[in-house]
């Protein structure tokens, strides 16, 4: 918390400055934590990063059979490319959060023994999943070549889409890791929510093909993000207005989540 820790503008600015300063100071730790988690993840696993490629491929194959052969969904690009692109982006989101939700509690040892900004834990969970995401992109490129899906100039939007997606994921990871520290139920609740959430998002089918689900589905911020990936990579169009709204909301959401996290941080060691 800022020196005075109040809710005034001055206190707020002091806090934000402290938050950013700490991240710069401890950037080496963020790097090391991410390295640690990557190393541990693939140590003693023969396939190593192969798993980051293999799992979404298996899923794509399964869903291709279900949705392209049985349900016969119409998609603007061949279904396997459509589905893989969605699963690829979604898996980054889901695995970052799955990892992030337990990131504070599984490092209880460090949280209670050594001081450093605790944001490092959820942030490194996001970065680790981002590495898998990068590996998975090779498969997407392969599928696009196989199915002859061309890319266009709108691919230039890709970094912006990625940044919004990463920031959105980081904001949720901050909230979930903190909530799970106070209440371990969050971890279980998360598993339920994330599987339902996937089917309420345009991961495996375009949302405009689904009707009668109401406003809740339209408010789902993940749909514009997944759609934006397809727009800029597969369809060569700019992201739509819903994405712009989500991008703006993400910045605000991350700011509040981070501030909240920062102000409750001092309670972590005694509450874990």
């Amino acid at each position: 918390m800022g020196k005075n820790g109040d809710v005034s503008m001055g206190g707020l600015i002091a806090d934000v400055r402290e938050m950013l300063k700490e991240q710069v100071e401890y950037r080496e730790l963020l790097r090391q934590m991410t390295m640690r988690d990557l190393l541990i993840r693939y140590k003693q696993a023969i396939m190593g990063f192969g798993w980051a490629v293999f799992m979404p491929l298996v899923n794509t194959a399964v869903f291709s059979i279900i949705f392209a052969r049985i349900a016969k969904i119409q998609t603007p690009v061949p279904y396997p490319v459509f589905a893989f692109c969605g699963l690829w982006a979604w898996n980054f989101f889901a695995s970052a959060l799955r990892f992030g939700v337990a990131s504070l509690t599984s490092n209880a040892n460090l949280v209670t023994k050594v001081y450093f900004p605790r944001e490092i834990f959820p942030f490194s969970a996001v970065l680790v999943s981002l590495v898998d995401f990068a590996v998975g992109s090779a498969v997407l490129v392969g599928l696009m070549i196989w199915y002859r899906v061309p890319v266009g100039l709108n691919l230039a939007w890709f970094p912006i889409v990625l940044v919004v997606h990463v920031l959105f994921t980081a904001a949720i990871a901050l909230v979930l890791s903190m909530a799970n520290l106070f209440y371990r139920d969050v971890k279980y609740l998360f598993e339920v929510v994330i599987s339902i959430w996937m089917f309420a998002t345009s991961v495996l089918y375009p949302m405009d093909k689904v009707d009668g689900l109401g406003t809740l589905v339209q408010l789902n911020p993940m749909t514009p993000i997944i759609d934006a990936y397809r727009d800029v990579i597969l369809l060569n169009t700019a992201p739509g207005v819903p994405f712009a709204v989500v991008a703006a909301a993400t910045v605000g959401f991350l700011g509040i989540a981070w501030l909240f996290f920062h102000r409750l941080e001092f309670k972590f060691a005694e509450s874990i």
């Binding site: 918390m1 640690r36 190393l39 140590k43 460090l110 209670t112 050594v114 001081y115 060691a269």
Partner: protein, 407 residues
């Protein structure tokens, strides 16, 4: 000199049991924390207790402060406040400069990673930059003595190797303030000695040290000042005085039946500077005398005077001796007021000692005066000696007769 640590009337409140029992409690509590509105800090709620109460101390550059006290006295809590892990309920804690904490030195280690990977990880946890770690990497490995195992996963290390590596990383951090919790107990004797030497070196370089330890020997050797903590500060000041207070409290005994039959009125060293119960700067081998003024309620004959010297820092019994009253010859018995002189030679080496005295009634084996601490001694260092007794060691060098003298 510059102030490095200022602990100013710090109090810390803890709660027994769980903090929140349901989500219904959590939401208002989080909202309150977010808006930083807390309940009145000064009062204790149900289930709450003070782990620290109005604790103050300060450490300057190049100084070492020892924190001693029984288990649960708040020693670790105060270190957690110092390292920013806990925030004081009231009061303030200021630490200037980079803080190195030797608390659970291997906390950041991951068992599946190699020694090398863990050095970089742990270094980063302690706030070192990559270049700094790389530069000191060889020193760290050498100091820990794990050269042959740098690329072995830490899970295959012995617990001693683990702790040594942890300490070694922390010892190469070059902090401004070093906070140490009981780490001197890790590793073998040779390693402990190296750690100790390292801390002495740190002090010379102007690093401020806060040491928490039950090893009073280490506290007395390293720290000029100390704090005796039992939630609140029981004693603070020069290490010898604080150790005395702590040892005296730790040695309190239950009263026995006949205790009080003899009343000790005063007891003090007979010295040039007037009577005192603490004798500082005793030269090894000095002749000392304690004079006691007492009063007995009954005539006493068959009693034993017991005299013991303990080393304050580790409770080592250095000497135990006793005298039966009949061996003293006249007077046959004593009653009412009497004087007793206890004379001894301080054949001791550098350190802090206390003297325990008792009077035992032989026929009933009951204490007339319970064993109690009656005086303390600090033997000043004259030459480099350590150990338990001063045996007046010397060395002489000579050549066998007839050896031709060299040019």
């Amino acid at each position: 000199m510059d102030l490095r640590v200022a602990f100013d009337s710090v109090s810390k409140k803890f709660r027994r049991g769980e903090r929140h029992d349901s989500l219904r409690d959590l939401v208002p509590a989080m909202a309150a924390a977010f808006l930083n509105r807390r309940r009145s800090s000064e009062t204790l709620g149900d289930q709450e207790f003070w782990a620290l109460r109005n604790v103050s101390f300060a450490v300057r550059a190049g100084e070492a402060l020892g924190i001693i006290g029984p288990n649960g006295a708040g020693k670790s809590t105060s270190l957690k406040v110092l390292t920013k892990l806990l925030r004081p309920t009231t009061g303030s804690c200021m630490v200037h400069g980079r803080v190195g904490a030797l608390i659970e030195v291997a906390a950041g280690f991951h068992p599946d990673l190699s020694g090398r990977e863990n050095i970089y990880l742990q270094g980063a946890i302690m706030g070192m930059k990559r270049a700094e770690i790389a530069q000191r990497f060889d020193d760290i490995v050498d100091f820990a003595g794990v050269n042959a195992f740098v690329d072995t996963p830490v899970k295959r290390y012995s617990s001693g190797m683990n702790a040594r590596l942890g300490f070694s990383i922390a010892a190469h951090l070059m902090p401004d303030v070093l906070i140490i919790d009981e780490v001197l107990s890790v590793g073998d004797m040779a390693f402990q000695q190296r750690c100790f030497d390292r801390m002495v070196e740190f002090k010379k370089q102007g690093i401020a040290i806060v040491l928490v330890s039950h090893n009073l020997q280490a506290v007395s050797r390293l720290c000029e000042t100390a704090v005796y903590l039992a939630s609140s500060v029981k004693a603070s000041g020069p290490t010898i005085d604080v150790l005395d207070a702590y040892v005296r409290d730790s040695n309190k005994l239950e009263p026995t039946v006949d205790d009080g039959a003899i009343e000790l009125r005063s007891i003090a060293f007979v010295s040039d500077g007037g009577p005192a119960t603490t004798h500082r700067d005793v030269a090894p081998g000095a002749a000392l005398k304690l004079r006691m003024e007492a009063r007995s309620a009954h005539p006493q004959d068959d009693v034993t005077f017991g005299f013991e010297i303990y080393r304050s820092t580790d409770q080592l019994l250095v000497y135990n001796g006793h005298v039966h009253r009949p061996e003293l010859g006249s007077p046959d018995d004593f009653n009412g007021e009497f004087h007793l002189d206890l004379a001894f030679r301080a054949n001791l080496v550098r350190g802090h000692y206390y003297i325990s005295f008792c009077i035992l009634h032989n026929p009933t084996q009951a204490y007339l005066v319970q064993p109690r601490q009656v005086g303390t001694l600090a033997v000043a260092e004259t030459r480099s000696r350590s150990g338990v007794a001063d045996v007046d060691f010397s060395a002489a060098l000579s050549l066998p007769v007839g050896t031709p003298a060299r040019r």
